[in-house]
């Protein structure tokens, strides 16, 4: 499942930011990828919509790496 979520992140990020995110790993720091905070909110929102889940706002502010986001999505999927 973790590969699927990471792949989804790359696809959505590419759609939102109009550039490739092929080299991204779970360890990548989101701000280092040049993704600004508003684009990040958009990426999260798109993933939530596609997977029909919702990450609480208080969890969003803890996300630093791509892996942080993937883990939160995976936990929600597992709980569903």
């Amino acid at each position: 499942m973790s590969e699927n979520v990471l792949t989804m992140f790359k696809t959505v990020a590419e759609r939102v930011d109009k550039r490739s995110f092929d080299d991204v790993t779970r360890e990548s720091v989101i701000t280092d990828l040049g993704i600004d905070s508003l684009s990040m909110m958009q990426i999260v929102g798109e993933m939530e919509t596609e997977l029909n889940l919702q990450i609480p706002d208080e969890d969003l502010v803890e996300i630093v790496t791509v892996g942080d986001l993937c883990s939160k999505v995976e936990r929600r999927l597992a709980a569903a």
């Binding site: 939102v16 701000t31 909110m41 958009q42 939530e48 919509t49 502010v61």
Partner: protein, 281 residues
Amino acid sequence: MAMKMRIEERLYREYMEFFEKAERERRWNIFNDVPWDQINPDAPEELALCAETFASVEMYLPDYVAGGINVVRDYFGRAWFQANWGYEESKHALALGEYLMRSGKRTKDEWFDHQNVVLSKEWELPFSTGRQMTCYGMIQEQATFLIYCKHRDFAKRENDECLRTIYDYIARDEIAHTRFYQSVIKILLEEDREGTLSDLAHVFANFEMPGVGLVPDYDTRILQMRDNGGIDRNIFIRKVYLPLLKYVGIDRHEMLAAQRRELEARRNRESIVETTSSAAE
């Protein structure tokens, strides 16, 4: 016409409530209320540099007032708010400038030279309509409030009670301003939700703090401001974006949909410009 009258009345009531509270609870006097005798002369240069940065941004007041008031002059409540806003903001640059001179961190000549450099450039209105400028004001004042709070703590850590007090007064003004803008946005959302959401998405997508590209050495100053204030990159989402959406009653996903539409519209505009340019060549 009926909608304009209704908005006019509601904005007037909001302004009267804001102004009554400001007159009753929030007025402060630069000569009597600031403890000028509690400046810490040994405070580090970083404290002065940050104060100078804030004073510099506040110094574009003539441009903020001129641009800001004309774009909202068709609604009494908003226009009078801008006039009062100008008075309150005028004290911010004054207090910070006085601090720099009285603390001995800047001589009078240095300060006036700096003023001339700052005012040699002109701030231009970043958005063209009253509603977009209200969105901009709401975001900018919330961000500014947060930054002043962080630097109030910095001044306290450096035992400068005078600067701590100045930042405290300024932060109180800024939060009152953002609350007014929030109330106006709530009204505008009730009257035209889709249009207001679209403007808010547009402003969020193109938002920049007012000193960008104007204040000398801005990038270096901003790094200092972030380091000393403990301001990280996520703070905009945590303390500005999410709280503002919550206060005005917009769900994150509703905002996302508006942002998506805004992005599409921008891409379409860019595509039309590209096509027109290619055709012209």
